[in-house]
Amino acid sequence: MNTAADTGSRPESPVESLTGALVEATDQLLALYELAKVTADSLDANASVGVILSQATRLFGASAMELHVVDDVIVGPSGDRLDPDYGSTSPADSRTSLPVASTTSAVVASVSVSNAAGLEATLIAHRRDRPFGTADHKLLSAVANMALGALHISRLHEDAVAQAVISRDHDTASDLAVRALPDWRPSVDGVELFARSDPARSAGGDLYTFAIVDGVFHFVVGDVSGKGLPAAMMMTNVISASLAAFQSEGRRGPVHVLSAIDSWMYDYLSDAGLFVTLVCGAFDRRSGQLRLANAGHSPVLFVHNGSAEMIEASVPPIGVLPLQILDDESAHEQSFATEPGDRLVMSSDGFTEQENSSGVMFGDGRLIDAVEGATTPCSELGPRLYDMIEAHAGGAEQSDDRTLVILDVIDVPLRHDQADMTGLT
């Protein structure tokens, strides 16, 4: 490196000049090495670019440096913004070259760079004691690219963190929504109940809930369209509406329960662009009467003497069109005089639509075959059906919630025809 004494005593020889240039180049390489090290230390944009500018300021002997990006300016160690009237050069009109502009008191250089992601930045350097030369051009470009790279990595990191936070919030909300499903099983004489819902990674809005009103067991099983947070949030609302409807309309039967849920939920679902398939049921153990109303839910199977009957929906899901089912109540209710051994199986589409690695669905057929051939109680059949789904999937990802509710009629003390005579129904 040259010193004031050296330069003041005699003219520099070519060898000394060359040696000085080599030493300076080595210093610059070392400074670049230091620059490369500091960029890996921080993922904060201002911190990492600030350190680069600080090192570069020292490298160039600059009085100030700024990195201009579209919506921000990061300043170097001086902490002061450059005078906007530093010369004719500005970030907007100097994207590709290295204009060197002199003002009365200083020289300014700027270099603009961009990367493949479309991020653009302009580095502006300010030096008082000497102008920026051609040799500085590549170094300034290297610094600008380094700062741009650090900025890019920092923003990618910020995006990833933001996505992770959103994802975590969604997962938390979905977990909370799943907790809205009852973890208790009603104690109803003469009935055994199996209920389970395995949420998919992105919760799908499956639901079930129960209540006993005046000794009658009421239940709903449903599926909100869509996945993730909107479906999970809507699912909790449908559960609340169902529990309220059991209390207010349960005595009048499942068609009235369904109609009440529709009247409360239709606008909400419609505004959200969602719908919910829902089967509502009421089982009166005293009479053995099972009453069902089905709004678009499938599959629902009633098994009697080992033969399964598909209980079809009479109306579309709630949220599609206003149901208007009270005008013809009998057309929308299916009623069964159950006997011991009868069974009601309600699952969600995520159960039957589970695909294997070849894209073949489990399907209603396999479910019906399994249910018709079962002689075990629902406490054993339910887990076995889940095992069958898992075996069918063969490791393929669970694409939707898998929900299964089975109601086994164990004992009916009074048949419905007798109950009618005694006025118990």
């Binding site: 599926d223 869509g226 678009g296 499938s298 009479s314």
Partner: protein
């Protein structure tokens, strides 16, 4: 899923012909194509489902949303020639009662 768009020669409605799986992963593609159709001024939208091999509840919700939007604009969304798997789903969910469905021979 692939979507091709053309104008129906008889009534001038925009017809979106869907091919492949129509599920939660593809819903945004349909929504964009549907909005493009509406932005083009057509409130009569036909959705040809002959080439759709699977629909899930998210896809059905997109169709319902589209149907409601068209009806708000005094138009309609017609389902055209649903494939067997789609037809079964529409019947099981009773959504066939909510949509205008046109079955084209051949």
């Amino acid at each position: 899923m692939q979507i091709s768009t053309h104008t129906h020669p008889v009534d001038g409605a925009i017809e979106l012909a869907l091919n492949g799986r129509f599920d939660a992963h593809e819903a945004a593609i349909f929504r964009d194509a549907f909005h493009d159709a509406l932005d083009g001024g057509s409130h009569q939208v036909r959705v040809n489902l002959a080439g759709v091999e699977f629909v899930d509840s998210t896809a059905l919700a997109e169709l319902v949303r589209g149907m409601k939007r068209c009806r708000e604009l005094h138009g309609d969304l017609t389902l055209v020639s649903p494939s067997d798997p789609v037809r079964v789903i529409l019947e099981l969910t009773k959504l066939d009662a909510a949509f205008d469905i046109e079955r084209v021979a051949g």
